[in-house]
């Protein structure tokens, strides 16, 4: 299988605080990778670097073979233009903890905005594709509703539809169920599971350990800005090598 995301020696700091201290990770096409770890371990920051919502100071990230966000010019590292970065971001789809739907647009138009403005589809094509995705996530009946008229779980399903409708090469989920009422978690996990079964490449930052164990091909445990341990879920959850991971799993009730 070809490597889709290749993260090489990634360093990221906020002023003097180093939050990523040399992370190496590769994700192959069709793979589902879950990132677990306590808060402050850098897992969300790592995810946000992959679609350049966070700048990073050292290392490289390659998506589909091309380095994103920065280039070498006369031996200096310079940030790509915003226009170019926008194109690179379109290769990844992102689902946020707080959904972040556009509050002034209907569920349908939340999806068609990107389809028309980024992918350049006509309005009619965009509506057709958006409706297809809304049906897929079970939200077609709510297509004319504004986000404020939807429950958290419904908003998150629309947000997933909005992201995958852009036909990204990889989907990134940032604690997609953490802001939901417990009874709404399952509907969102079902949607994510469906995408995984379709062969979508995904990176998930999650606190849902059982779900991570069930859907992932690879689980990554982060601690203090580094990858402490990684491997297939059976091994990582079944026989964790690092004492910190054992501690973390015990505290998570696994």
């Amino acid at each position: 299988m070809t490597v889709l995301i290749d993260i090489q020696d990634l360093h990221k700091s906020y002023d003097t605080l180093e939050v990523l201290k040399g992370v190496n990770l590769s994700v192959k096409v069709g793979e589902v990778v879950s990132i677990i770890g306590s808060s402050g371990s850098g897992k969300t920051t790592l995810l946000r670097c992959i679609n350049l919502l966070e700048a990073f100071q050292g290392g490289r990230i390659l998506v589909d073979g091309q380095p994103i966000g920065y280039r070498e010019r006369d031996g200096k590292r310079v940030r790509d233009s915003e226009r170019r970065i926008a194109k690179q971001r379109a290769m990844t789809g992102m689902v946020f903890q707080q959904f972040n739907l556009f509050p002034h647009l209907s569920a349908l138009d939340n999806i068609t905005l990107g389809l028309t403005k980024v992918r350049g589809l006509s309005r009619a094509e965009a509506v057709e594709q958006a409706e297809g995705w809304l049906e897929r996530v079970g939200m077609l009946a709510h297509r004319h509703h504004r986000p404020s008229q939807l429950s958290g779980g419904q908003q998150q399903r629309v947000a997933i539809a909005r992201a995958v409708a852009m036909k990204p090469k990889v989907m990134l989920f940032d604690e997609a169920t953490s802001a939901l009422d417990p009874e709404r978690v399952a509907e969102v996990l079902d949607t994510i599971r469906g995408l995984a079964q379709d062969g979508m490449t995904m990176v998930l930052v999650t606190h849902e350990m059982r779900f991570a164990r069930e859907v992932s091909d690879q689980v990554v445990f982060m601690n203090a800005g580094r990858i402490e341990e990684q491997g297939p879920p059976q091994r990582l959850f079944g026989s964790p090598a690092s004492p910190r991971l054992r501690d973390f799993l015990a505290r998570s009730g696994i």
């Binding site: 915003e82 926008a86 971001r89 990844t92 789809g93 992102m94 403005k117 980024v118 909005r162 992201a163």
Partner: protein, 218 residues
């Protein structure tokens, strides 16, 4: 108290009062339109990353907001011609009120922008929208909705400020009221009818803008 009301001179001049009211409304709408466009640009400057543009926006707001509108009106109409910049009465007033409105609208839109959740801009980035598209399709419409109540307040306030145009003899409502007053000496009648016209108009404007606000509510 045995005052005898006599509204006859007021009703005889009723068309003039309405004409004045219409002119005042026209001046207000034009000035608020110009002021809002300038305010929008300044609000983006004030909340942007560029330090010089931020300083420009804050400098403008702090100077203009600390000036009485009447001083701006008089400065433009009587002061600028000394420098060879002369405008007619109405143009001078529109210029003054636009400059004044721009400062207030900058604050209205700046507060609106600060109320736009950063997450929705990130969502726009994540689907690959360019920074300009995000501002236009996402930030602007959400900000305008946030800003509506404050915008409506300022609209009414700025409309009332058109009465100051009487100071440079722009023939709006207050100007005609003064005129009728000095010709008829029906002081109480003239000013109570004028007050009623201002109240009714402001109330209608608020009602209209509140209707718009509730239709746009998120």
């Amino acid at each position: 108290m045995n005052y005898t009301f006599n509204f006859t001179p007021v009703w005889q001049n009723w068309p003039l009062l309405l004409e004045g009211l219409a002119l005042g409304l026209g001046l207000a709408v034009l000035s608020i339109a110009i002021g809002s466009i300038a305010g929008l640009v300044l609000a983006f400057c004030a909340t942007g990353k560029h330090p010089a543009l931020r300083a420009l926006a804050f400098g403008y707001v702090s100077i203009v907001r600390n000036l009485p509108i009447l001083v701006i009106v008089l400065f433009i109409f009587f002061g600028l011609p000394q420098l060879g910049l002369a405008f007619d009465k109405s143009t001078s007033f529109v210029l003054a009120l636009s400059l004044y409105a721009a400062a207030y609208m900058t604050e209205v839109f700046r507060a609106g922008l600060l109320g736009v959740p950063p997450g929705i801009s990130e969502a726009g980035q994540a689907i690959g929208l360019t920074p300009l598209s995000i501002k236009y399709y996402v930030v602007l419409p959400v900000m305008l909705r946030n800003a509506m109540p404050a915008f409506a307040n300022n609209f009414v306030s700025l409309f009332k400020d058109t009465s100051l145009a009487a100071a440079i003899a722009v023939p709006e409502l207050t100007f005609y009221a003064q005129k009728i007053n000095s010709e008829s000496f029906r002081v109480l009648e003239v000013w109570s009818v004028t007050a009623a016209l201002y109240i009714a108009t402001c109330y209608l404007i608020s009602l209209l803008l509140r209707g718009l606000e509730s239709r746009l509510r998120l």
